[in-house]
């Protein structure tokens, strides 16, 4: 569960031409990953060119299953290293998605920080943070 402190801005994603489709999808509560349509490799973060095929026109965003497993995680237990707009404790999970890419996001309201473990099955859910910002989080998933 992530709670926000009013009055302190959340740092927004840096949106450019290469990742706009990713963040546009998130705004519509859809989770996509980038894939090269030639070699079928998945990439995170999105990039303009496939580093395997060396092609500039084969990268596209495809729907993700949204499912993955916790690969690693950290828990902010003091405010020393945490972002001041967020109340502690909160977690960030590194989740290995079924597509193979790893995504970092917070724990959804159904997951307490002390419940998280490596290998935990999770799936994407969305949280509307404010008028301009929707973010993906990870919630529990039955394995």
């Amino acid at each position: 569960m992530v709670e926000y402190v009013p009055g302190i801005p959340i740092l927004k994603p840096y949106i450019d031409a290469d990742n706009k489709a990713y963040w546009d999808a998130v705004k519509e509560e859809k989770f996509v990953v980038q894939q090269c349509n030639k070699c079928k490799n998945y990439y995170q973060p999105p990039r303009p060119m496939c580093p395997e095929c060396l092609t500039l026109d084969t990268m596209e965003f495809v729907p993700s299953t949204g499912k993955g497993e916790v690969y690693s995680y950290i828990i902010y237990t003091t405010d020393k290293m945490a972002y001041p707009a967020m109340k502690i404790p909160y977690a960030v999970m590194v989740v290995e998605m079924e597509e193979g890419v790893r995504i970092t996001a917070n724990n959804a309201p159904d997951i307490d920080t002390d419940e998280i473990y490596i290998g935990m099955p999770v799936e994407v859910t969305f949280a509307k943070i404010d008028d301009d910002l929707t973010l993906y989080q990870f919630k529990k998933r039955k394995s």
């Binding site: 740092l11 690693s72 828990i75 902010y76 972002y83 707009a85 590194v94 790893r102 943070i129």
Partner: protein, 413 residues
């Protein structure tokens, strides 16, 4: 099919065939560090970073026995906030013909020296001073979240956009995720990693330069101190420091006529392995290791013509304990996945151990001058003037920050 990348690292086989021959390397044995200097390390200097940089540079010149006007090159980190042109004016550097900065935060810690060495070896300049000055304790804390909240509205680069909005925006927390995975894969305990901080504190207690001089800390103290960002405790974190360090690089030929015993650069390298980000590195085949440290260390070894087992003393970049601990594996001082066992009880990294490591107290207990205090300690070890002197060392390994394009060097006396 999974994408095959970084196989040199995954197979632990550094491919020498595709790299330039060491015999062609112009800095190997032909360049040396001839002077070192540092200010007092404090929690609140009450001084400008400019002022401290000039003091450290002046001391390094005095130590080398060269006049300031003989310094004709300046090299620092892009993160250094001193104004280089004003340093030139303040120190009266009349003959400056080279000035440059190296990027990638703490990854520059050995690259600054490497670039200076390349410049003197190729005859662009004669004496290049490398420096780093920071008020990390009393000034802008770039490792803290509240700094970002004050200065930014959006993540500063596209790749940070996948972490900053989640409140995942400090180096210690990014590294904590690698460390957690490494501890999980190799079954490493909190009790084991605690020995890093304990031994480094022992070193600092004997080093009058260290911020934690005469401030003992036991393993029990370590286990009882608060978690900052799990899995890292307060005593796993580097010490925010105000201070500056400098060292002077020249050719081996010129070094012979100077005041100090030269410390030669036997091999140095930079690394920028694929799927690199600035610390938010999670899309490599594993995160239970420090790729950049391994590549930089093995490039330095390759050029130097040595292996991990030949090294006598190591000064490893440890912005948090696990950074140093995992580097023991990446530098081949112990087997992969065995660093937890290697440091347990502390003897292996103490001054008469298998690999005396971070003998000034490191970034955890001496000072955090972005790794530049490690370079100075490496030089002291090879001169025989450390406060925790290893017996007759010939080779010293120095590394730089992991998770970013990094660097490493092998020094010899």
């Amino acid at each position: 099919m999974a994408r095959k990348i970084l196989e040199e690292y995954m197979n632990r086989k550094y491919d020498a065939d595709i790299k330039p021959k060491p015999a062609l390397n112009m800095i190997k044995d032909k360049t040396a560090i001839v002077g070192i200097g540092e200010t007092k390390f404090t929690r609140g200097s009450g001084r400008d970073e400019m002022d401290m940089a000039c003091e450290a540079i002046k001391k390094a010149a005095d130590d080398a026995g060269i006049k300031l006007e003989d310094i004709d090159g300046l090299e620092t980190f892009t993160l250094d906030r001193t104004a280089m042109p004003f340093i030139v004016s303040t120190l009266g550097l009349k003959n400056l013909r080279f000035a440059s900065e190296v990027s990638f935060g703490g990854g520059a810690a050995c690259a600054v020296t490497l670039h200076a060495a390349a410049i003197v070896a190729t005859g662009v300049a004669k004496n290049v001073v490398c420096y780093r000055s920071l008020n990390e304790s009393s000034g802008h804390k770039f490792g803290r979240g509240d700094g970002y909240a004050k200065y930014m509205l959006t993540a500063p680069t596209p790749h940070y956009g996948y972490t900053f909005p989640m409140g995942f925006c400090t180096p210690l927390s990014w590294a904590g995720a690698w460390g957690r995975r490494w501890m999980h894969e190799f079954n490493v305990s909190y009790e084991q990693i605690g020995w890093w901080a304990v031994v480094l504190r022992e070193y600092a207690n004997k080093n009058p330069l260290a911020l934690f001089h005469n401030k003992p800390m036991t393993h029990e103290d370590y286990m009882n101190v608060q978690m900052i960002v799990e899995p890292l405790r307060l005593f796993d974190c580097c010490v925010d420091t105000d201070g500056a360090c400098a060292h002077i690089v020249t050719t081996a030929e010129r070094a012979k006529d100077l005041k100090q015993k030269p410390v030669y650069i036997l091999g140095a390298g930079q690394s920028a392995p694929i799927e690199q980000e600035i610390q938010t590195v999670y899309n490599r085949p594993t995160i239970a290791g420090l790729f950049e440290t391994w590549y930089a260390a093995h490039e330095a070894y390759r050029v130097a013509g040595v292996e991990g087992k030949d090294i006598d003393v190591a000064e490893l970049y440890d912005p948090y304990s696990l950074g140093g601990i995992m580097s023991l594996e990446e530098c081949d001082f112990c087997e992969r996945g065995d660093a937890g066992n290697f440091i347990e009880g502390g003897d292996n990294i103490r001054v008469d151990g298998k690999m005396p490591t971070n003998t000034s107290g490191g970034l955890l207990s001496e000072a955090y001058i972005h790794g530049f205090n490690l370079v100075n300690e490496g030089v002291r070890q090879l001169r025989g003037t450390s406060y925790n002197q290893v017996k007759d060392p010939e080779l010293c390994m120095v590394t730089a920050g992991p998770g970013v394009p990094s660097s490493a060097m092998v020094l010899r006396n």
